[in-house]
Amino acid sequence: MDIYLLEAIVNGLLLGGVLALLSLGLNLIFGVIDVVWIVYAEIVMSSMYAVYWLHNYYGWPLFLAFAAAIAVGSIIGVLVHVLVIQPILGSAPINQLLATGGLLFFLQSLATLLFGTEYRNLGVRLPVLNIDGLYISFARLIAFGVALAGAIILYLFLARTYLGTAIRAISQDREIMGLMGVNEKRIYIITSAIGGGLAGLAACLLVLQYDVHPFIGLTFGPITFMICVLGGLGDMIGGFIAAFIISQIIAIGGFYFSSELAEVMAFVFFIVMILIRPQGILGKK
C-alpha cells in the first residue's frame, strides 16, 4: 500500500480518538439527562483557554494546567446544569436546545470580550515521529492514547461502580431511581461534572494541536454532533464507532481529493446514513 495513504489512515485513526472522546461526553449527558448540550464545544474552548493562560501567562507546569483545565470543564458543566438546565428540565426539548445554544453565543462573545479574536498558540512543540518513512505527529499519538484511556476509564466506571450503574439505569426509569435510594438531582450534577470534565480532557489534547480562539468550538462542535447523531444520540458505543468512521472519511477523502472536499463527503455520508438509519448505526428500532 502507498505509504502516504497509510499515513492518512493512521492520522485518521488518531483524529478519531479525540472525536470519540468528544462524542462520549455529549452522549453521556444526553443519555442520562436527556438534554443536548449545544454549548459542548465551547466548554472545550474555555478549557483550552484555561490551559493557555495558566501555562503561558502564569507559568504553571503543563500537567498542572491540564488538571486545572479538566476541573474548569467540570465546573462549567455543573454550572450549565444547575443554572441553565435544571430550571427548565421539565420543559420542551426545543427550549433546552435554545438555552444551551444561547449559552454557546454567550461563551463565544465572552471569550472575544476577554481575550480578543487573536489565535493563541500554546507554544509547546512536540516532535513528529518518523517510523519507516511514516510521519506521525506525537501530539496526535498522545491525544489518541489519552482519549482511548479516558474512554476505557469511563467504561469501567459505568460498568463497575454503584454510581456508574445508577447513571446507566436512570435513563431507563427515572421515577424509580428514588426507590433505590438514589438522589436523581445528584446523579445529574455528577454526570454534568463528568461530561464537562471530558470536554476539559479533550481540550488538553486539542490545545497541543490547534491554536485557541473564541470560535475554535465551531471546528469541533458540528462534527461532534454529527458523530453523536450518526451513532445514535445517547448511544456511547455507537458514537465511538461513528467517530472513527467519520475520521477515516475525512482522512482518506483528504488524501485522494482535498480536506475541504473530504468534509463535504463526511457530511454527505452523514445525510445518507440519517436517511437509511435514522436510529443510529447500532440502533435497533
Partner: protein, 237 residues
Amino acid sequence: MSALLTLDGISAGYGSFAALFEVSLQVESGEAVGVVGPNGAGKTTLMRVISGLLRPSAGSFALEGMPLEHLPAYRIVEAGIAHVPENRRLFGRLTVEENLRMGAFLPAARKHFAERLAWVYELFPRLQERRQQMAGTMSGGEQQMCAIGRALMSKPKILLMDEPSAGLAPLVVEQVFELVKRIRREGFTVLIVEQNVGQVLEVVDRAYLLETGRIKLAGPSAELKNNDFIRASYLGI
C-alpha cells in the same frame, strides 16, 4: 406497643383530582397487612405516598415514630421502607445482578452487598441462574422475583408490594404469593396492595378494604373472608 408504620389522615391526589381521603392505617412489626380494593380505589396512590413518590396533600405518616411525609423518596428508602412497584419496573437493559446492585445503592446497604446478594440468591435460586441476563428478557414471574430481590437488598424494615400479581398468568400468580409467604417466614414486615382479594387474604394477617379512596372495612383476614360484603363483592360467593 406502637406500630412500625402509621398513616394518619392521609389525603392525596393528582392536581385537582383527589384519589385518597383521610386514610389511616397501622402496620405492626412482623405483620403482613393487605390493602385490597377494586381498580381505581387509590391503592397505588397510597403506595406512592408511603414511598415518597407522591406528596400527600394532608395527613402524616411515620416509621417508628419518625415523620416521613416531607422526605423525598430516596430518604424514605434510607429510613427503611422498600417498595416493589406496580409492574415491577426493573431496569430492563441492566442485568439481573446490576438490578440487585441498584437495590443496594444506599451506603449502608453497599457494605453488606456480597452477603445480601448471596442471601437473595439463596431465596430465589432462579435469579442466580439468570444473574448475567438482561432483566427485561426474563419471564414475568422471574421479573417479579428480581423486583422483590432488588427491594430486599436494602434490608428494609417494611416491604411495600404494589399489585405483585398484576399481569401474570394464574399459575405464576400462585408462585408469587408463595414468594410472599417465604418473605414473611424470613421475618419481614409486609404491606401488600392487591386487587386479587381472595389470594391476598390467604397470605396476610390483616387487611383494609379501600374503595374510592376511603377505608371501608378493616380486620383480620379470617374475619374479612367471612364478611358478607367482601364475599359478595370480591370473592364472588
